[in-house]
Subunit: 120 residues, 4 copies
Amino acid sequence: MDQATLADLLARCRAFRDARDWQRFHSAFNLIVSLNLEAAELLEFTQWQSEQGLAERLESDPDAKQALAHECADVMMYLLMLSDAAGIDLYRSVIDKLAINEARYPADKARGVSTKYRDL
Amino acid sequence: MDQATLADLLARCRAFRDARDWQRFHSAFNLIVSLNLEAAELLEFTQWQSEQGLAERLESDPDAKQALAHECADVMMYLLMLSDAAGIDLYRSVIDKLAINEARYPADKARGVSTKYRDL
Amino acid sequence: MDQATLADLLARCRAFRDARDWQRFHSAFNLIVSLNLEAAELLEFTQWQSEQGLAERLESDPDAKQALAHECADVMMYLLMLSDAAGIDLYRSVIDKLAINEARYPADKARGVSTKYRDL
Amino acid sequence: MDQATLADLLARCRAFRDARDWQRFHSAFNLIVSLNLEAAELLEFTQWQSEQGLAERLESDPDAKQALAHECADVMMYLLMLSDAAGIDLYRSVIDKLAINEARYPADKARGVSTKYRDL
């Protein structure tokens, strides 16, 4: 399977970073902190909101959807840079973790329930 | 550029979800909360740690690096599912946000400093 | 008004800390990270939950309520230690911030709406 | 020991809330989300910062210290409101949790190390 897109996104993030000489700031530690701050920007969309209310807002308000897309992008960029800083193959990690989750959440036991694997 | 890999990862996440009939839980709201919880699992790596200490740990302890890779995977999976739930093209969003950041952080002004764009 | 209780809680947290020689770890930086990790433990209570569902769970399940109380305590302890490390009077800070919020959210404009002050 | 201060702070927060008819928004669920957002505001102080760098900034920059104090206040207010919404006695919870921590982290084993209790 072609890894073109993740590699492409990573290459663009690296080019952006290196044009600004920012690699010195991009330790795994710092990138984890920044990723958490961007995750909190996503969490803002849920503040004083219901599940249904957010769904409707994203349906009806293109600016809100666009803003959410940009926050998703921020998380993605930090995730790519973090993987890069830590020497992690993000694609391979997802494949591996899905296999672990397959074992933790057998489809017949986990169907239709949101129970944690420890309690299944 | 081929989008194969993000599409491939998303297809795998969807297959995992649908085999368990979990789409009912996968609202944008719920996925944002779960993404934040996984981001916090990443943040645990920084607890009582220095920047240098974490870098050395990831160098010298393959289990720690593997654990970090799995947490990165968790964030990635929720980010893919969130984009899917909200009808967002994650690849396009990163390209767009990088263009915005190019304008916010001109290379000549931002070189070597971690100042926020509002203060540049 | 007597400040006994916050002072009492802080004195107990300090005694706990100093009996373990942990002051060396208790920089503002580290305490902020740990406070965020404890906040995430609170956030776990909202995972795959509705607002109503969590309210009912806290009503009907004393163990869940007890677990929530302990997570609240963890946040409180880190908040006291953080204030201590940064030389902040937590009581005074709340009084000050309430006054700011009084100005930002005039009662007649803010009544019954959850709008951010920037948009009021 | 007198509980005056926590009770006093809670009474002030309640008065602020009720003057705006905000109790309808103040479910445990919503307050947990908002507390996490305020915790993230604290985390911003650690972004692109070292432990030493933040300590020096708080020493030398009264505005930064003031800003940190206000973020601490925001966490405190949400914590009081959350305890109130969930029927939790915050003071009692801290006393209880300190007793648990005393057992988990015996002073002679935990002295000078930041190891988690599971690994002590």
